[in-house]
């Protein structure tokens, strides 16, 4: 096939790819070598929940085939919009499909969404709402733009100028300020100077993932310009979604970005490996680590968070069955949390149960959107489990050397 992460193509140009889906069924369950039990052998949240093939990557590929070949029309189905949007774009299908078939159903799913938007059929109403928010207030939540930096405090303060930009994203500053603060503190404690974009807009990820490409492009253009204006050499993220969007979607539109991209966990792991920081001991805590889809499976950042957790004495990491490229999604992404809260919560609950089965008291991750969804599940399930971002674990014990 030759392509894995290609430019956004119109749906028709995926004709060869969709015919290539020959129903091997690996988009529905975990990669065989890694499956450890029946309970946790599923990989695709929407198929596992809905059980009709249409809700799997295979189903969506074949629907795309029918649309491309004119065997079916968009208006022939009442369920079509729900089918193409009830997918959190976690990529569990894609990693197996790439590895076995050299095919990427995720791109086809996003192409279906883009076409739905073009035709005025999509996206889902909730997605239109957050697009409106982004247009007006430059964040998905519709919160005042100025409040994006409300989290800033003396001990978590950016510099006016630096060649390292901390990209905040929307969820951290507006919904998880404690993670934002922890990130800033960790940077400060590591001796890393950073600044913020003076006028940061939403990275565009929710728009990309829901097929609203025109507006998404505007985010890209704005943010890239803003980045250039700061003279940024390096951009740090604490949100997996923003990180992935910059790494993958931005170059498709803006060409090569002339700054380095990394997640805070990668930075910390690198500093640790180079002997520039260490961590003090913490009281014993059994934790398990949830790989955020966008950073883990999509970008391959598996080791960095584990290096950090391993480096902190007192932290005992017990892995879940589905980890790294086979991690089960938190259920928030792809516009699912907004448009299909039931599916989103159900997915997160599966993950929390899996976390609890390890015996861990705390589930750790490195994405504020995962944080939001997993904490929601913990609350609904009324179970004794904490959620912590890696920065929250590291912030009080990091020592600069």
């Amino acid at each position: 096939m030759g392509w894995i992460v290609g430019p956004h193509k119109p749906l028709e140009e995926y004709k060869e790819e969709v015919w290539h889906c020959q129903r091997c069924n690996w988009c529905k369950i975990g990669f065989g070598w890694t499956v450890k039990s029946q309970k946790y052998h599923w990989s695709c949240p929407s198929f596992t929940k809905f059980r009709y093939d249409a809700y799997s990557a295979q189903g969506r590929m074949h629907i795309a085939l029918a649309l491309i070949e004119g065997m079916m029309d968009w208006k022939d189905s009442e369920k079509l919009l729900e089918i193409i949007y009830a997918c959190d774009t976690c990529g569990a299908c894609a990693i197996n499909c790439i590895r076995i078939m050299e095919n990427n159903p995720l791109e086809v799913i996003e192409a279906l969404r883009a076409r739905a938007v073009e035709l005025g059929i999509g996206p889902m109403p909730a997605h239109k709402r957050f697009a409106e928010n982004v247009k007006v207030t430059h964040n998905v939540y519709g919160e005042p733009h100025v409040d994006r930096i409300k989290w800033v405090s003396d001990d978590a303060k950016p510099l006016a100028k630096s060649d390292t930009v901390l990209f905040m994203g929307c969820t951290s500053p507006y919904r998880r300020p404690e993670i934002m603060k922890a990130t800033a503190r960790v940077l400060r404690a590591s001796g890393i100077d950073f600044t913020l974009l003076p006028d940061e807009w939403c990275c565009g990820s929710p728009l990309f993932r829901t097929g609203q490409l025109e507006l998404a492009e505007k985010m890209v253009q704005h943010n890239v310009e803003a980045m250039k204006a700061t003279g940024a050499r390096r951009v740090i993220f604490n949100c997996a979604g923003c990180y992935k969007t910059f790494a993958i979607d931005y170059p498709k539109i803006a060409g090569d970005l002339n700054f380095e991209l990394m997640h805070i966990v990668e930075l910390l792991a690198d500093l640790y490996n180079k002997g520039k920081i260490r961590f003090n001991k913490l009281p014993t805590e059994i934790v398990t680590y949830h790989d955020p889809c966008h950073m883990g499976r999509y970008l391959g950042v598996y080791d960095a968070p584990r290096i950090i957790l391993d480096a902190i004495k007192g932290i005992k990491l017990v892995e879940m069955e589905r980890i790294k490229d086979q991690a089960w999604c938190c259920g928030a992404g792809g516009g699912v949390r907004a448009a299909f809260p039931d599916l989103s919560l159900w997915t997160a609950k599966q993950r929390i149960e899996e976390a609890r089965d390890t015996g861990a008291a705390t589930i750790v991750s490195s994405c504020p959107f995962c944080a939001t969804n997993l904490e929601w599940a913990i609350k609904e399930m009324k179970v004794r489990m904490k959620y912590k971002d890696i920065t929250q674990i590291a912030e009080n014990v990091i020592v600069r050397l």
Partner: protein, 591 residues
């Protein structure tokens, strides 16, 4: 093939049928939605279905999809189908033998029936529902120091319950002999809607699930095997398990891939290199030609060593290469030796067993002129074959990569003596000459060395040779169909019972009274008993009297004409129908 758009519409069922189905399983589990139906029209290795897809055959679309959650619900749905005389088909993975054959078909998707019902460690058995796959069975069995001895080729996602009705070949057939030998019992919803236990639990008081496949009388399970999903829906199947010493979890791969960096990581060989499970080791060997390879394989098989023994040759290029480009390169350069195979040795008794078996292997290689791949000899090839360290244990995962190259199984010479491998290769070469089947780089594979499965301690071998037609290339698909039509008489002429899993279904079944002989007439009797109303895709297995009259005698379809054309070309007797046109005049040992 017209490229003009042409919408394909499904045929609707009467409302009362839909209402009855909704009452049976709940309204959310019945769907007539066009998009949902669409996703049940493509099947991995179903040539006929692909041809129909390309010609936009509307009967390929079911009328509705129903997802029952229990045996009782399956039974209710089947009863409704019988009541209203609506054809139905059962569906799990949709890899083969699932395509609706009639208009207005109810498609019963078993996706909700995914429970493990029972694991009996003493009996070494596991009873599962039809949507439980081999990956799951292996994972749960391994935790208990057991395994089921293999995974269905195509693939570990396969569901044993479904596979039982179609196939059952495993990578470890050398010792475990595949699915038919590994089932203790089942519960079946018959096409009439009756439910029956098959196995020891058919006898009241012996337990909820079958513990023993032996039976003091005829075993009906034998007629469910290879019934192509026409004699009943298996809603529970009890699988045999065997001792497993490889550990609860399979070893970790050296690293895991990611989506964005897959190609770089593949180039750097960052993954696909797991170690074998403990107390297991896989040995790869090569031979100079097919005859020498067969000689070596037979000796190895009959020597009693190993749990899995197959010759995969260039097929490994497809399975072990992380990209198709790399696979094609390996084939072209014959980087994977064409006459190569592997044996898996396990220390089930003790570690010493592995040393003993390795000693035997080396002796046999020495005697037969084979060479072991090792650190000293072709280590780069050995490294490339590393995925197979785990593939035998929970196969077929990367083994499924054959589908990346458009794999569509064409011919399997059914269980036969070892020389059949040479016959397979020769027949295949003939195909390529006659039909001109060169539409893929991988077509020549079979002509070099078919895939050889060594079965049952070397009592038998099965060979496979394949074609790889692009699924949206109608011409290639037609060529493949013609090769099927050619292969069937070619193998029968060489006195093999056919080219597809021995019992090939229609239209082969009724076109070749030579097999059985008159096997199609016996199968009609089975059809009468199991599916008197002819609702469960019965014509897929064998034509009824009336269907035979129409499709073989009075008004044969194009495909059937092709089969008869090749019959003639191979010098088989010209078939003459009996007076009533329901059978051929064909009398072996006629008085």
């Amino acid at each position: 093939m017209s490229t003009k758009t042409k919408r394909v519409e499904h045929q609707k069922l009467p409302r009362e049928v839909i209402r009855a189905l909704q009452d049976a399983v709940g309204p959310e589990w019945v769907s007539e939605d066009r998009a949902i139906l669409e996703t049940y029209t493509i099947f991995t290795i179903d040539l006929g279905a692909y041809l129909r897809k390309n010609t936009r055959d509307p009967t390929l679309l079911p009328s509705c999809v129903v997802l029952p959650s229990s045996t009782e619900e399956v039974q209710a749905v089947v009863r409704i189908a019988n009541r209203y005389k609506v054809p139905f088909t059962a569906f799990s993975n949709g890899q083969v033998m699932n395509a609706p054959a009639y208009p207005r078909t109810i498609l019963i998707h078993l996706a909700r029936m995914d429970k493990i019902l029972d694991i009996d460690e003493e009996n070494m058995s596991m009873t599962v529902q039809p949507f439980v796959d081999y990956v799951t069975v292996q994972a749960e069995a391994r935790r208990r120091g057991l395994w089921n001895g293999g995974s269905g080729w195509h693939s570990a996602t396969a569901k044993p319950a479904s596979q039982f009705t179609v196939a059952g070949l495993w990578q470890t057939d050398l010792k475990y002999q595949g699915l038919a030998r590994n089932v203790l019992g089942m519960k079946v919803v018959l096409p009439t809607g009756e439910t029956v236990n098959m196995g020891s639990h058919a006898v009241a008081g012996t337990g909820k699930y079958s513990f023993c496949e032996r039976f003091p009388g005829p075993k009906l399970m034998g007629l469910i095997k290879e019934s192509f999903g026409t004699r009943g829906i298996i809603t529970e199947i009890t699988l045999k398990l065997h001792p497993w010493v490889g550990g609860a979890d399979l070893p970790e791969d050296v690293s895991r891939p990611s989506i964005a960096h897959y190609y770089e990581e593949a180039k750097q060989k960052k993954f696909d290199k797991p170690p074998p499970p403990k107390r297991h080791k896989i040995y790869f060997f090569e031979y100079p030609d097919l005859e020498a390879l067969i000689d070596g394989l037979l000796k190895m098989a009959r020597s009693g060593i190993g749990i899995g023994l197959n010759a995969s040759g260039l097929y490994f290029a497809m399975m072990c290469a992380a990209t198709n480009e790399e696979a094609e390169k390996w084939v072209k350069e014959q980087f994977i030796p064409p006459f190569s195979g592997y044996i898996v040795i396990a220390g089930i008794s003790c570690e010493e067993q592995m040393r003993y078996e390795e000693k035997v292997l080396k002796k046999i290689l020495e005697e037969t002129g084979g060479k072991l791949l090792s650190e000293e000899y072709k280590p780069e090839v050995l490294e490339a074959l590393a995925p197979w360290n785990l593939e035998f244990a929970v196969n077929t995962v990367t083994g499924m990569r054959t589908v990346r190259g458009w794999y569509l199984a064409t011919a399997l010479t059914p269980y036969a003596p070892f020389y059949s491998a040479v016959d397979s290769r020769d027949v295949w070469r003939n195909v390529m000459e006659k039909i001109g089947s060169t539409h893929s780089l991988f077509s020549p594979i079979g002509a070099t060395c078919p895939y050889l499965y060594i079965v049952d301690r070397g009592h038998q071998i099965e060979t496979e040779i394949d074609q790889f037609p692009k699924r949206n290339d109608f011409k290639q698909l037609l060529t493949t169909l013609e090769s099927f039509a050619f292969l069937q008489p070619a193998f029968i002429k060489k006195m093999y019972s056919g080219s597809m899993m021995e019992t090939p279904g229609e239209p082969f079944m009724s076109s070749y009274p030579e097999t059985g002989p008159n096997q199609y007439l016996i199968w009609r009797k089975y059809r009468k008993v199991f599916d008197p109303n002819g609702l469960m895709m019965a014509s897929r297995a064998v034509l009824s009297d009336e269907e035979f009259k129409k499709e073989q005698v009075e008004n044969p379809r194009g495909a059937v004409m092709t089969f008869h054309k090749w019959r003639e070309a191979f010098g088989f007797i010209k078939l003459k129908p009996k007076l009533d046109k329901t059978a051929w005049e064909f009398y072996p040992h006629k008085e």
